[in-house]
């Protein structure tokens, strides 16, 4: 018994690994197949976004805000635009607010569909992966139709939107929503959340307790899966979320399966929101005229919103210059990924993949 470490192996998972969702690295100490210790390592796509914000005009930062979380780019565009608008003290026309809400929800659906697809891929089911992308492509095409871009739309401008919605967009969107709703309710059900093998891998794995949530400051769907009913959209409404009727989806178990189901339900809930918005979208302008280069007086501006990954926030310090003095970005995944130190311990190597996938981290926003 003097050589206790004889069975321990240290393996590096990442940064280039099929299932780390980008470039994350975990130094994992395993005993046989059980994980004993995890040390996450981040920063592989650190681009110095906060420094670049200090170097750029307010408007010029928008494409970079796009690429913070490249899976839900529009949410971050809206967040950044709202921050600057609040600092400037301008109000956005109601039509623009409604369209922003609509686009945010579309982006949320795309992000969650990508999550479902990746969950399938992580567990070795390539078909779920492909099908998830098939449905995501439909929404991608609509985003492209609206904005001209697929992943980085650059649709939201400071003061509103760059363009109005195209002709006949709402009909196409509604028919797409019907397709996605039926696919999620039927095909995905058979392949994933009612499938025995799928449940075997997901149920009871990687349970996040309420203490861990508070300890690491996790937000978003991950805590709603643990029974914490917290959603900025409902609790502290922004955009047009106080004018639509929707439920905050919660589960109680807190395991991978609950996190999967929260996202599935949120897709259906987003469909509900979009249908309401299309019904009572007001007409009018979509943009207030804001000059390209402007100055903001010394001010502290704080805005938080709910992105598909949790509560994102921007704290902007201005000093009367044409550029922000400091822009601090709160990326929800940055806090979520800290929790793996506890979540992975005691599970198998195969569970690492499932748990990490169900947390839905995005290295782009973790590293900024």
């Amino acid at each position: 018994m003097e050589n206790k470490n004889r069975n321990k192996i240290t393996i590096n998972i990442g940064p280039v690994h099929p299932s780390t969702h980008g470039v994350l690295k975990f130094v994992v100490e395993i005993d046989q197949d059980t994980i004993k210790k995890v040390e996450p390592e981040i920063g592989f796509v650190h681009r110095g976004v906060e420094k670049m914000a200090e170097m750029k005009y307010f408007n010029s930062f928008m494409p970079i805000a796009d690429k913070l979380d490249y899976i839900s780019a529009l949410n971050w565009e809206v967040l950044y635009a709202t921050t600057v608008e609040n600092a400037l003290g301008i109000t956005v026309p109601p039509r623009a607010i409604y369209i922003r809400t609509l686009m945010c929800e579309m982006q949320r659906m795309m992000s969650h569909l990508l999550f479902l697809a990746h969950m399938g891929e992580d567990l070795g089911n390539t078909t779920l992966f492909m099908w998830g992308f098939r449905e995501r492509e439909l929404l991608m095409d609509l985003t492209e139709e609206v904005s001209g871009g697929r992943l980085a739309p650059m649709y939201v401008s400071i003061g509103g939107l760059y363009y109005d919605l195209p002709e006949g967009f709402s009909e196409r969107l509604l028919s797409t929503l019907n397709i996605i709703e039926s696919k999620v309710k039927n095909e995905y059900k058979a392949l994933s959340y009612e499938n025995g093998l799928f449940k075997m891998r997901m149920v009871g794995v990687g349970v996040i307790s309420k203490e861990q949530i508070v300890k690491y400051g996790i937000t978003g769907p991950n805590i709603r899966a643990s029974g914490v009913k917290r959603d900025i959209r409902k609790d502290d409404p922004y955009l047009a979320y106080d004018k639509v009727d929707f439920d905050v989806m919660t589960e109680t178990a807190g395991d991978c399966y609950a996190r999967f189901m929260v996202r599935v339900n949120e897709i259906l809930e987003s469909i509900k929101i979009i249908r309401q918005i299309i019904k009572d979208i007001p007409s009018g302008e979509v943009k207030v005229k804001v000059p390209w280069i402007f100055k903001i007086p010394p001010k502290y501006t704080f805005v938080r919103q709910e992105t598909p990954r949790g509560e994102a926030a921007m704290y902007m310090v201005t000093n009367g210059d044409q550029k922000p003095y400091r822009l601090k970005i709160r990326a929800p995944s940055f806090y979520t990924i800290q929790a793996v130190k506890e979540l992975f311990v005691g599970s198998k190597v195969a569970d690492l993949v499932a748990i990490l996938g169900s947390l839905d981290p995005v290295p782009g926003e973790i590293d900024r």
């Binding site: 395993i30 197949d33 567990l123 070795g124 390539t126 078909t127 190597v349």
Partner: protein, 333 residues
């Protein structure tokens, strides 16, 4: 028996020694060609099938219907430079892919191809020989994981050894129950014994046990845990590049085909059927079974290794044993 056919043909013209050598040579060449072509063709079927399931096309541009796609893959793999880390065990590292490919060749050699006469070399008890060829693989997997000197490979090797060892037990018991029912370890005799009733009606549970165990033994389908791409990148194959990696495809697809043929022989009456000739029936059944076994990979996710071993020891093995006991009791009384 193709060997005997060629021997008789050659013996009419040449001396016995020469015709022995000659017919061995011919049989080896035929077997080698089949071994090489099975993965090329089945790999194409696999890629097309996965494409169709996943709402894509699969290979299209290389050759008609993409048929030459895997030929291109083989040519590319042959043209790759040999590259590995510096601390491998060269003997073990190099022997494993060759041994695995040779086992595939061995199975091609002794399995009847739809007819008692269409076998390259007749050996008695060929069911047992095929079992041996399937069951020796945990050793090779473990050796590969060791010889590559890579932690991922070693984890994959351990996983593979555990998984295959678990499932080849139930596989053996399935073979024994079928042999008990038919009174023979010869594949064609077993098939011929089902001329009136297929064994799938007697032993439906055994068929399920066989299907799951065989997929686990050949590391195919949802049970590709030792080489799980998303967890271990390529598991015990991780350090192999070039044609050494290509040799694993031979093993994968030949064993898949052999498993499908065994299902037809043991449970679906081999070539027995109405109206159509024997070999046609056999190949129709084999195609259906092969495509079914292939498509399992694309609709299920893979379980965890401990779950798989639990299922193997707690469910499949007892089921197989109970089935064996029932068959034995029925045959005895």
């Amino acid at each position: 028996m193709i060997y005997d056919f060629f021997y008789d043909f050659l013996a009419a013209h040449f001396s016995p020694l020469l015709s022995t050598i000659g017919s061995w040579l011919i049989v080896f060449i035929i077997g080698g060609l089949i071994t090489l072509n099975v993965p090329i063709f089945l790999g194409w079927v696999d890629r097309k099938l996965s494409g169709r399931i996943q709402a894509r096309y699969g290979p299209v541009y290389t050759g008609p219907f993409g048929l030459l796609q895997n030929v291109a893959d083989v040519i590319k793999l042959m043209g790759k430079r040999f590259l590995t880390n510096q601390v491998i065990d060269p003997l073990i590292y190099n022997i494993v892919p060759i041994a695995i490919a040779l086992l595939g060749f061995f199975m091609v050699f002794i399995i009847p191809w739809g007819n008692a006469n269409l076998v390259l070399l007749y050996v008695p008890f060929n069911l047992l020989f095929i079992y041996i060829a399937l069951a020796v693989s945990p050793l090779l997997v473990l050796l590969a994981g060791w010889g590559e000197n890579n932690k991922y490979a070693m984890l994959g090797g351990f996983r593979g050894a555990a998984q295959i060892t678990t499932y080849e037990l139930s596989l053996l018991i399935v073979f024994i129950s079928v042999a008990l029912l038919s009174g023979s370890y010869d594949i064609t005799t077993i098939a011929a014994a089902q001329s009136s009733v297929w064994y799938v009606l007697y032993l439906p549970i055994t068929l399920v046990v066989f299907g799951i165990s065989s997929l686990a033994v050949i590391e195919r389908g949802p049970f590709d845990i030792p080489e799980a791409t998303q967890e271990l990148q390529a598991g015990w194959k991780i350090e192999y590049s070039g044609i050494r990696y290509g040799l694993f495809f031979i093993a994968e697809y030949v064993r898949l085909l052999v498993i499908s043929m065994l299902i037809v022989y043991l449970f679906f009456g081999g070539g027995n059927g109405l109206f159509l000739p024997n070999y046609l029936w056999f190949w129709i059944k084999t195609s259906i079974v092969t495509i079914f076994m292939m498509s399992l990979r694309w609709v299920f996710n893979r379980p965890r290794i401990d779950q798989l071993i639990n299922i193997g020891f707690n469910w499949l093995l007892p089921l197989a044993v109970v089935n064996l006991l029932i068959v034995g009791a029925v045959m005895f009384f």
